[in-house]
């Protein structure tokens, strides 16, 4: 096997690296002529603030960014192709490895999509339990985001506090599912195991703990002058821009569009519960922070209702529903969407009546959010770019899949 010769753009260019801008009309990274007063700053794929293996090619003029080109695919594992080569049940562990912070939601989304295609009905207890676990997962994802975002802004301490709060959720979910991050507890027709009798009490204790934390986030962070200055009016995404790119979730709701899949196309047991969708019109970093902190409160509210309404009964309709022999959904195509912590997560599933899906396509919420940055970041400074990238809450492995 021979090593391919490096492309001209990747060859080591010592003289041009940082010392002076490239000579006028010298070919830029992609061959286009580079104006002489700008230079290219390569951010990533290994950089403290790119949240994984994302690479941003920034075209800079001094400290100002004039262009940004996200380069993705460093973490491509071929999840969609894998889905075509395994049975529906065998693909279950893959689901939570796309968005590792809302793995529970993705896991249940896959299960529910297949159930819908195959005409399986999960018992009521399982449906309510899914809501409880999903919402806990959403809160833990938002907690990680708050910590990481503040870390991007240069504040170290909040991340320790949010991770402490998140730890309570992880312990709780671990006791139910056996995993802490990449959950695989959904089964076709229910859950892998029942919530134990003590679960509601422990869940309420966790909710009480989280409720004491929420005022901290609202007062200590939101009212900090430096935080507000770094966030207000920075990275404004208009509602129109979001809709054009297909940005969903908290990012869209922070831009004044009250779109939440749980409300617009309710699924599972969500119609039974009463909750509000926090919306803010500004579309800046601060609005995105504001919306997510309020969403955590709403999630806790949903969980409390669900714990009150948790019916008795089995959590699995029938054993062995997912086996290779029995699970052969009829020929058809289905699109099923859920609201993950980052926005609308959609699954397009095509069945040919086989034990394996013919095609599975995932619509992930991080992808459009990253794409929209091409229009948001130019005109800001490096510090802002880092803050904006942090504020949209992308998960790179789900973009790369």
């Amino acid at each position: 096997m021979t090593t391919p010769a490096p492309r001209p753009s990747e060859r080591h260019r010592p003289a041009a690296a940082g010392r002076e801008p490239a000579a006028s009309a010298a070919p830029g990274p992609d061959g286009e002529p580079e104006p002489s007063d700008t230079y290219t700053l390569n951010m990533g794929p290994q950089h403290p603030s790119t949240h994984g293996v994302l690479r941003l090619k920034l075209t800079m003029r001094g400290e100002m960014i004039v262009g940004v080109d996200p380069v993705i695919g460093y973490g491509h594992r071929g999840h969609e192709k894998m889905a075509e080569n395994r049975t529906y049940a065998q693909f279950l562990p893959n689901t939570s490895r796309q968005d590792y912070l809302s793995g529970m939601i993705y896991n249940f989304a896959w299960v529910e999509a297949v159930e819908k295609l195959a005409g399986i009905e999960a018992p009521p207890r399982a449906q309510v339990a899914r809501v409880i676990l999903s919402e806990f997962n959403r809160v833990s994802s938002h907690l990680v985001w708050i910590g990481a975002f503040l870390l991007d802004l240069g504040a170290w301490t909040p991340s320790l506090y949010t991770f402490d709060a998140r730890e309570a959720i992880l312990f709780l979910l671990e006791s139910v599912t056996g995993s802490r991050l990449t959950y695989c507890t959904g089964r076709f027709g229910g859950l892998s195991r029942d919530l134990d009798p003590d679960f509601p009490r422990r869940a309420r204790a966790v909710i009480a703990k989280l409720r004491t934390h929420c005022p901290d986030f609202e007062s200590l962070i939101e009212e900090n002058v430096i935080f507000r200055r770094r966030c207000q009016g920075v990275g404004v995404m208009s509602g129109e821009l979001c809709l054009r790119y297909g940005v969903t979730g908290p990012n869209l709701r922070a831009s004044g569009v009250p779109y939440d899949v749980r409300k617009v196309e309710p699924y599972g047991a969500y119609p039974k519960f009463d909750f509000e969708v926090p919306v803010r019109a500004e579309g800046d970093n601060f609005a995105r922070y504001w919306v997510r902190v309020r969403e955590m409160r709403q999630s806790l509210h949903i969980i409390e209702q669900a714990l009150d309404a948790l019916p008795d009964g089995p959590v699995l309709a029938e054993k062995g529903l997912g086996s290779k022999k029995r699970l052969r959904p009829p020929v058809g195509t289905l699109y099923y969407a859920v609201e993950s912590a980052r926005g609308a997560f959609g699954i397009l599933l095509v069945s040919e009546g086989d034990a394996k899906p013919y095609r599975a396509k995932f619509r992930v919420p991080s992808y459009p959010a990253l794409a929209a940055l091409r229009e948001v970041i130019p005109g800001t400074m490096v510090s802002d770019a880092v803050a904006i990238l942090g504020s949209i809450d992308i998960i790179v492995p789900e973009i790369d899949r």
């Binding site: 400290e63 770094r230 400074m381």
Partner: protein, 331 residues
């Protein structure tokens, strides 16, 4: 004690070499120990603020952790980027350390003990503190790395902007004490009160200014990890990187000691010997800087500049004018 030792040595090798030898030994020795201590203190303070324990494994309460880290850094390979400007690149980590040591030798430890009792001590100190940025910019420029250059550029702009409020706040102290000799400034405080009472605004400006000069959060933009990776020291590894850390923590202590001298009465205090009081006050200021670092997010570059030029400098100028008028009217 120190002066006794100096006299003894002076009898053997002459007065100037004796002072130099003693000064170099004591200052360098103490500053090295101080870095080991301050890094540990920073980790412990941050741990307390973040509800953690911090280092606990090496030594009692992890006190020897920094020493272990130093050994690790010593063992690391020293990398020099191929395209670096070699001479400047190697000179920067050494140079960054020089002005700080010079300043340390100028600060009076007690009424009788200062390694260099210069008539215009404050002027020399002000000139030297501005020198550190040169080494930082050398490091950023010679590394031939875009992040490092950005860090170096930010550092220059920042230090230029924040030197001014620091100097203006120091000037108002000079106006009151009518001297630029650091020893006389402390003695003037002995006769009246600590200048933090007479000059609270200048004291606050001074602390803000030195936080920016030592590149510490919320003004740590020259080395903002989340933006510039390591900033000006991105390309330095092993002991060379440690030298920058060394300089930063030494700088904190020295500027803290200078602040103690100017505003908190230097060596003045009951019961304990003078140098102990000076260090206690210096560490109090250092603690304040650590506390700030672990509490606040980082400012953006332009916001940092605006804070200096549009707020701190006008306030410092106003403070200076008010002080001048007050000194003139009250005699």
């Amino acid at each position: 004690m120190l002066s006794g030792l100096r006299d003894l040595l002076a009898g053997l090798i002459g007065p100037f070499p004796a002072t130099f030898l003693l000064g170099a030994t004591v200052i360098l020795g103490y500053l090295s120990l101080n870095v080991l201590f301050l890094v540990w203190l920073e980790r412990k303070v941050s741990a307390r603020i973040q509800r953690r324990l911090g280092p606990m494994e090496v030594g009692p309460q992890g006190l020897l952790q920094t020493a272990a880290d130093m050994v690790k850094l010593l063992g690391k390979q020293l990398l020099t980027p191929v395209a670096a400007d070699r001479f400047v690149y190697l000179a920067a980590p050494v140079l960054v350390f020089v002005p700080t040591i010079c300043v340390a030798s100028l600060i009076p430890l007690s009424g009788a003990e200062a390694f260099a009792d210069v008539p215009y001590g404050l002027l020399v100190v002000s000139a030297l503190t501005g020198f550190t940025v040169l080494a930082i910019f050398m490091a950023g420029w010679s590394s031939n790395n875009k992040y490092a250059v950005l860090g170096g550029m930010r550092s220059v702009a920042q230090v230029v902007a924040y030197e001014i409020p620091v100097l203006l706040s120091v000037l108002s102290v000079v106006l009151i004490s009518q001297t630029m000799n650091l020893r006389h400034i402390v003695e003037a405080q002995q006769n009246t009160v600590w200048y933090v009472v007479l000059q609270p605004v200048a004291a606050v400006l001074y602390v803000i200014g030195i936080t920016a000069e030592t590149n510490r959060a919320p003004f740590d933009i020259p080395e903002a990890e989340s933006e510039l990776i390591g900033g000006f020291h991105t390309e330095y590894s092993g002991m060379r990187f440690a030298m920058f850390m060394f300089a930063e923590y030494t700088n904190m202590l020295v500027l803290g000691a200078l602040g103690a001298t100017l505003f908190l009465g230097g060596w003045l205090g009951p019961w304990l010997p003078g140098p102990v009081w000076l260090l206690l006050k210096a560490y109090a200021i250092v603690f304040l800087m650590m506390w700030t670092r672990w509490t606040y997010p980082r400012l953006r570059f332009d916001q940092l500049m605006r804070l200096a030029w549009e707020f701190l400098i006008p306030v410092a100028l106003l403070n200076l004018v008010v002080t001048a008028v007050a000194v003139f009217v009250l005699g």
